[in-house]
C-alpha cells in the first residue's frame, strides 16, 4: 500500500533526558528478546528447526520459540497461506500483544510463489496484515532466516518496526481485503477499532466502508457455554 509512507507519524515529545534513556533501554531490550510464534504453514517450516537447534542456535540472539499468541512478539509465517489458514493467521495475529511483528518467510508469502495460479491460496500476505519483513527464497536457508531476524532486531532497536500500528491506522484497508476473500460477514473475536482507540491510533484509515459493513454484519460475541462432559449427538442415519 503506497500511501502508508505519507501518513505523518506523530512522535510523543519527550523532554526529560532520562525518559529518552529509558525509552532507548526498552527498545534495546525489545530487540534483544524476541519470542516467536511460528505459524508453520507451507514448506518453509522445515528450515526453522536447524535455525533453532545446535547448528545455528537462535537463542544466542535472544530469540526463543513460544507456544501461545499471548506470549509471542513475532508471528513467523513460513510459507504459502491457504485461504482457510489465513483466517487462523489473522485470528492469531489479532490476539498477540503489541508491539508485534510479522515475518513472512518464503517467496509464497511475498507474491504467491509457485502457487500463483492456485485458487485457494492468499497471494500477498501484506494485503491482509502488515508485514515487517520478508525473507524471500524457495525456501530460504537458516542463514537467511537468521540474517532476516537480525535485520528485524536492528529495525526494532531504531524504532522503525512499527507496522503493528499500521494495522490500526489502516484497518479499513486490511479488513476490506479480508472481506474480499472471506465474504462480507467476516468477523474476528477481537474488537480492533476499540483497540485502536485505546492505543490512540485512530486515524482516517481506521474507519471506512468496510468497517461499516462489518458493523452491519457483526454478531455480538458471547461467552462460551461451560459444561462438563459433552452430549453426543446421534449420527445422522
Amino acid at each position: 500500500m503506497g500511501s502508508i509512507k505519507q501518513i505523518p507519524v506523530v512522535e510523543a515529545k519527550r523532554t526529560n533526558p532520562l525518559a529518552r534513556v529509558f525509552d532507548d533501554l526498552v527498545r534495546f531490550c525489545r530487540s534483544r528478546s524476541l519470542f516467536i510464534l511460528h505459524y508453520c504453514t507451507g514448506c518453509g517450516a522445515i528450515e526453522l528447526p536447524p535455525a533453532m537447534t545446535s547448528r545455528f542456535d537462535m537463542e544466542r540472539l535472544g530469540i526463543q520459540p513460544m507456544v501461545s499468541p499471548r506470549q509471542a512478539d513475532i508471528l513467523l509465517i513460513t510459507g504459502y497461506v491457504s485461504i482457510k489458514t489465513l483466517k487462523r493467521v489473522i485470528l492469531t495475529y489479532e490476539q498477540m500483544g503489541s508491539p508485534k511483528y510479522v515475518i513472512g518467510i518464503c517467496s509464497c508469502t511475498v507474491n504467491g510463489g509457485m502457487y500463483w495460479q492456485s485458487y485457494a491460496t492468499a497471494k500477498k500476505l501484506d494485503e491482509y496484515m502488515p508485514v515487517d519483513l520478508y525473507i524471500a527464497g524457495c525456501m530460504p536457508r537458516p542463514e537467511a532466516v537468521i540474517a532476516g531476524l537480525q535485520q528485524l532486531m536492528d529495525k526494532i532497536h531504531s524504532g522503525e518496526a512499527s507496522s503493528w500500528e499500521d494495522y490500526y491506522r489502516n484497518y479499513d484497508y486490511y479488513l476490506g481485503n479480508q472481506q474480499k476473500l472471506f465474504g462480507e460477514d467476516w468477523q474476528t473475536p477481537t474488537d480492533v477499532i476499540s483497540e485502536a482507540k485505546h492505543y490512540d491510533l485512530l486515524s482516517e484509515g481506521t474507519l471506512g466502508d468496510h468497517t461499516r459493513l462489518l458493523e452491519q454484519h457483526q454478531k455480538p460475541l458471547e461467552a462460551l457455554e461451560m459444561r462438563l462432559g459433552h452430549e453426543q449427538e446421534e449420527p445422522a442415519k
Binding site: F28, R32, S54, E59, R60, G62, V67, S68, R70, G97
Partner: protein, 299 residues
C-alpha cells in the same frame, strides 16, 4: 537489631534473591545450551526478557483475580526470601522457622491456580490441575525430609539448623550426617522446580505451557520473575538444610549454584513423565529413602 536494620534487610533480601535468581535462570539456560551443543543466551538475557515483557503495550488482564493471582505467585516467594538466612542477613528467619517457610512456598502455586482459573482457558486449567497434583507429589517427600532434618537438629529454626551444621565443618553437614535424606531432598527439589522429567504442568508441546497459556506482557513477566525467585528459594533452602548454609557469600553462592546445577544437568537429558508416573515415582523412591533416613535419625 534495630527496626531500621531489619527493614533494610527485609528489602535487601528479596532484591539479592532476584539478582541471584536471574543468574540462576541464565545458568539453567546455558546448561541446556551446552548439553544441546549450542552457545546459549547472552549474559543479560533474563533481564532483557523481563524488561521486554513489562514494557509490552498490550497487557491483557482477564479480571481482578487474574491480577491478584500473579501478585500472590510473586508475593509468596518474596515473603519466603525474608525467612531464608543468607550470610550476614537473617531477616525474620528466627521468628518464622521452617514450617512457615514451607507454607509460604506453597502460596505461589495456589495464586497461580486462582489467576489461571479466571483466564478460562482449558489448557490453563489442565495445567493447574497438574501443577497442584505435582505439588501433592513432591510435598510429601519434602515434608518428610524437612521433618527428619528438624528432628535431628532438635529445632525448626533455620538459623539454629545452620549453626549446628557449621559447628564441626564438613563432618557435621546435613548431607554427611543424613545422606539418605539429602538424596530424597534432592529428588523432591528437582520435582518442585518443575523441570523435565517432572515438567508435567508446563508441557509446551502438549498443553501449550499450561498455566502460562493466557499470560502475556507483564503477567508473563511476573511469572518470569517468579521463576527467578523459585530457583533461588529452592536451592538456598537445600543449602541451608544439608550443606551448612553459607559462612560467606562466595561459599554460599557457590553451593547454591552447584546444588541447582545437578537437577538442571539431569533435566535436559530426559523427556517428560506422565502425571501418574510422577506420583508413583515421587511417592515411592524419595518417600522410601526419606523414611529410612528418618529412621536412622531416630536411632
Amino acid at each position: 537489631m534495630s527496626a531500621t536494620e531489619l527493614l533494610i534487610e527485609l528489602i535487601l533480601m528479596p532484591l539479592v534473591a532476584f539478582v541471584v535468581g536471574m543468574m540462576m535462570v541464565l545458568m539453567m539456560r546455558r546448561i541446556a545450551a551446552k548439553l544441546q551443543r549450542r552457545i546459549g543466551p547472552p549474559f543479560f538475557q533474563p533481564l532483557y526478557d523481563i524488561v521486554k515483557l513489562h514494557s509490552k503495550k498490550t497487557q491483557v488482564s482477564h479480571g481482578l483475580i487474574h491480577d491478584i493471582g500473579i501478585v500472590m505467585a510473586m508475593g509468596g516467594y518474596i515473603a519466603a526470601e525474608t525467612l531464608l538466612p543468607v550470610p550476614g542477613m537473617n531477616g525474620i528467619a528466627e521468628k518464622g522457622g521452617i514450617i512457615t517457610l514451607l507454607y509460604l512456598m506453597m502460596i505461589p502455586s495456589l495464586g497461580l491456580a486462582l489467576g489461571v482459573g479466571q483466564c478460562a482457558n482449558p489448557n490453563g486449567s489442565i495445567g493447574i490441575a497438574r501443577a497442584l497434583t505435582a505439588m501433592l507429589a513432591y510435598d510429601i517427600p519434602l515434608v518428610i525430609v524437612v521433618f527428619g532434618v528438624a528432628y535431628a537438629a532438635g529445632t525448626t529454626n533455620l538459623i539454629d539448623i545452620i549453626a549446628v551444621q557449621q559447628a564441626g565443618g564438613f563432618e557435621t553437614w546435613g548431607a554427611t550426617q543424613m545422606p539418605l535424606l539429602a538424596i530424597a531432598g534432592l529428588i523432591a527439589m528437582h520435582a518442585s522446580l518443575g523441570k523435565q522429567p517432572f515438567e508435567i504442568y508446563i508441557a509446551p508441546a502438549e498443553i501449550a505451557t499450561g498455566p502460562m497459556v493466557e499470560m502475556g506482557g507483564k503477567y508473563l513477566g511476573g511469572l518470569f520473575v517468579m521463576q527467578c525467585f523459585q530457583l533461588y528459594t529452592t536451592s538456598v533452602l537445600y543449602v541451608c538444610l544439608f550443606l551448612g548454609g553459607g559462612t560467606n557469600w562466595f561459599d554460599f553462592l557457590l553451593k547454591s549454584f552447584l546444588v541447582l546445577a545437578i537437577p538442571m544437568s539431569i533435566a535436559y537429558l530426559f523427556p517428560r513423565y506422565r502425571t501418574e508416573d510422577l506420583l508413583r515415582l515421587m511417592w515411592k523412591w524419595p518417600v522410601m529413602l526419606g523414611l529410612i533416613g528418618v529412621a536412622f535419625v531416630f536411632v
